[in-house]
């Protein structure tokens, strides 16, 4: 059979066309628009005039911007690695269970993940409530008095990080469990014949073989947590928004509250660049380490 190369290419283009169109209209075009907006003084709605790099100069001088960057970085540090390690630990425990027991326990760990953030906020806000919250029992046992956790500046981010880990850990557990299942039992069997202890098995077998999944989870987590908004926004309601402001929250405040679409876009571009640089860097680094 003679293959008609041109025809095949045409068909291929035709087949990917719907995707390219959707991607172009819904992702690429808005992104280009965002970058364009960042060079203008546009309000939230409608066009603005070209101001060149002015927004960027302003951003580097902006106290709030740096607060937002610092807070976002702090939140990432508090969540990404702990969330991954806790996910792996729980997944290893769950994988030792069999049959319906495993399904049940897994379901319990996964349950928080399907809750909307507003429900998560309600639950934890109630549990931490200074007068009636159940968590005030351990808190007062340790600190000697009840503490309004979400109104105490230095406790705010760690508390939100804790809630976030509780909320999103289920998904990581699922990914890790899939990874653990793909490790052949033969390897473990061979190891136990060689009298390897548990720690050695983990260090020499499980950890290296699960590494691709760990790298994936870390990267997903990093991107997700850099874009933190909902939890911080909700928990700070009724308190002091500025000291714990994160980047997306700052973008929201600029664009929607202060009607500065252009400047909001500038901060959004900054976040976009940070996300890309860090996630690409991290993924490459982790992959390189894994291949050693």
């Amino acid at each position: 059979m003679i293959r008609n190369y041109r025809r095949e290419v045409a068909v291929a283009y035709l087949l990917i066309l719907p995707f390219v169109l959707t991607y172009g209209i819904l992702f690429l075009w808005p992104t280009i628009q965002m970058v364009y907006l960042s060079f203008t003084d546009a309000p939230l709605i409608g066009p603005g005039s070209w101001v060149g790099l002015e927004n960027y100069y302003e951003m580097f001088d902006d106290r709030r911007f740096w607060t937002a960057v610092r807070n976002t970085a702090y939140f990432v540090a508090l969540t990404v690695i702990p969330n991954t390690l806790i996910g792996l630990a729980i997944a290893m425990m769950v994988s030792r269970l069999k049959g319906w027991q495993q399904s049940l326990i897994l379901a319990m760990f996964f349950l928080p993940y399907i809750l909307p953030v507003s429900v998560v906020y309600r639950l934890w806000n109630w549990m931490f409530n200074i007068q009636f919250g159940i968590l005030q029992y351990p808190i007062s046992a340790i600190a000697g008095e009840n503490i309004n956790v979400f109104r105490t500046q230095w406790l705010f981010m760690p508390a939100v990080a804790l809630v976030t880990i509780w909320w999103t850990c289920g998904f990581n557990i699922l990914l890790f469990l899939a990874g653990l299942r793909s490790i052949s039992p033969d390897i473990y069997e061979a190891a136990s014949l060689d009298n390897a202890n548990r720690w050695t098995i983990f260090r020499r077998i499980t950890w290296p073989l699960i590494w691709p999944v760990t790298a994936l989870v870390l990267t997903i987590q990093l991107i997700l947590q850099l874009k933190i908004f909902d939890q911080v926004y909700l928990f700070v309601q009724g308190g002091r928004p500025d000291p714990s402001m994160v980047m997306v929250q700052y973008i929201y405040s600029l664009a929607f509250q202060k009607n500065q679409g252009g400047y909001g876009a500038t901060v959004a571009v900054a976040l976009f660049v940070i996300v890309i640089v860090f996630s690409v860097l991290q993924f490459q680094l982790l992959r390189a380490r894994g291949e050693k």
């Binding site: 902006d62 109104r151 308190g239 509250q257």
Partner: protein, 426 residues
């Protein structure tokens, strides 16, 4: 003859269809009123629809108060999908005008339905203006008042001959009164001390009582001569918490609960909580006799923060307003003002002077007791940064509320708030 019939029939059809068109004038209405005043507004809308059956029908939608509402108004107006009429905080008019979300109302249109500068308090009418053009018509004046627990005040000997609280004027006297109340009440003064809202309203009132200028003509926040006054206002507020009279780090809802549960003798909050008290008292769940007065004069002269719910028409881009629709919307705005006595049940003071001067309102309690604040009202500063759910409100949550709790010094709070707002304005 046949021709005559034809014309007669055609004209009948035409007349009927015009009639039908008028009969079906729907007015799409957006508001942000939920809770006690939302219920009362819905009753008013129903009354309007009944009275205008076959002519105008209001189709109401209630949206989320604050930033979500104002964002939605702005985005929907930009694409011509906004409502025909909406409630609007007069304090948010500057942002609405700046973002092009509001349509101007002409003096002729307004006077055609009997609304003009003379039918409202001057400061109130002007709060709906920007550059001398009218963008919103006031509907009410709402402010903060001092709620009191009559039983506790009587116990502490703070009720006058007329059964009204006495001896509360002056910052020192107020402290002395709180000291007396401490004997009969664990937390004598319940006031919100976390977040924005009440802290702003109290602060702005105390500033107004000293003739402090929040935003100068030249765009300076806290001009130099105002700074000591602002610091004094914050110190006064902080002293209530420091002395243990007011609770620290208390959010809005909790501050209301402290009073309704009978724990606090005094409560500083907006008039919109009047329905809460009325309804609880009517159900016999309050457990004490309550009242409300205008907030005491802590400093030189009476002044109280105030804002207004008003009516505004969005500048629906690309959507032509027919004369019939315009007439219907004007009728809505005018009718609600003329019937705003019922709105006073929600605690508000009617903006429309004939209603405020009516016998029925003058005997309506507790509104009549505090209605003098309509004349001493200081409205929010005119800036796109000010008004409900604005950067100014955020700044209050960031600096003034922490200062009330002693987390920041008063001077430091004012300095940082000034720097922050100035930074945002420039």
């Amino acid at each position: 003859m046949q021709k005559f019939f034809k014309i007669a029939m055609l004209s009948t059809v035409a007349a009927l269809s015009i009639g039908a068109a008028q009969a079906q004038e729907n007015v799409v209405w957006w508001d942000f009123l939920s809770g006690g005043d939302g219920v009362r507004m819905k009753a008013l809308i129903e009354q309007f629809n009944t009275e205008h059956a076959g002519e105008i029908t209001i189709q109401p939608t209630t949206l989320e108060w604050g930033t979500p509402f104002y964002t939605k108004v702005q985005t929907s107006a930009a694409i011509g999908e906004g409502p025909d009429v909406m409630t609007y905080h007069l304090s948010r008019v500057p942002l609405g005008v700046e973002s092009g979300a509001l349509a101007e109302m002409s003096a002729e249109d307004l006077s055609s339905v009997g609304l003009s500068a003379d039918t409202f308090a001057a400061a109130n009418w002007e709060a709906g203006q920007s550059d001398g053009k009218q963008y919103a018509v006031p509907f009410d004046i709402h402010s903060i008042i001092l709620y009191y627990n009559k039983d506790k005040l009587a116990e502490a000997g703070l009720l006058g001959e007329d059964g009204k609280p006495t001896g509360l004027d002056g910052a020192e006297n107020f402290m002395a009164a709180l000291e007396k109340l401490k004997a009969v009440s664990e937390t004598p003064l319940s006031v919100q001390t976390s977040g924005d809202g009440t802290p702003w309203r109290v602060f702005y009132s105390l500033l107004g009582q000293q003739d402090g200028v929040f935003l100068g003509e030249d765009g300076t926040f806290f001009p130099d001569e105002t700074i000591p006054k602002a610091v004094k206002a914050v110190e006064t507020m902080a002293s209530w918490v420091e002395a243990g009279y007011a609770p620290a780090l208390t959010e809005y809802e909790n501050s209301v609960a402290l009073f309704t549960s009978g724990e606090s003798a005094l409560h500083l909050n907006g008039v919109w909580e009047v329905p809460t008290m009325t309804d609880l008292a009517a159900k016999g769940e309050l457990g004490f006799e309550w009242g409300a007065i205008a907030i005491p004069t802590f400093f030189d002269h009476p002044a109280t923060w105030a804002d207004s719910h008003g009516f505004a028409i969005p500048n629906n881009v690309g959507k032509e307003v027919t004369p019939e629709k315009k007439a219907a919307v004007l009728e809505v705005i005018s009718w609600f003002n003329k019937n705003s006595l019922a709105w006073a049940d929600a605690g508000h003071i009617p903006a429309y002077t004939p209603v405020r001067d009516s016998e029925e309102f003058k005997t309506k309690e507790p509104n009549a007791t505090y209605s003098i604040l309509a004349d001493t009202a200081v409205f929010d500063p005119k800036s796109p940064l000010a008004g409900v759910a604005s950067p100014v409100y955020d700044a209050v949550a960031n600096y003034i509320a922490p200062a009330m709790n002693g987390e920041l010094g008063a001077q430091e709070a004012i300095d940082e708030m000034k720097a922050d707002l100035q930074d945002q304005a420039d």
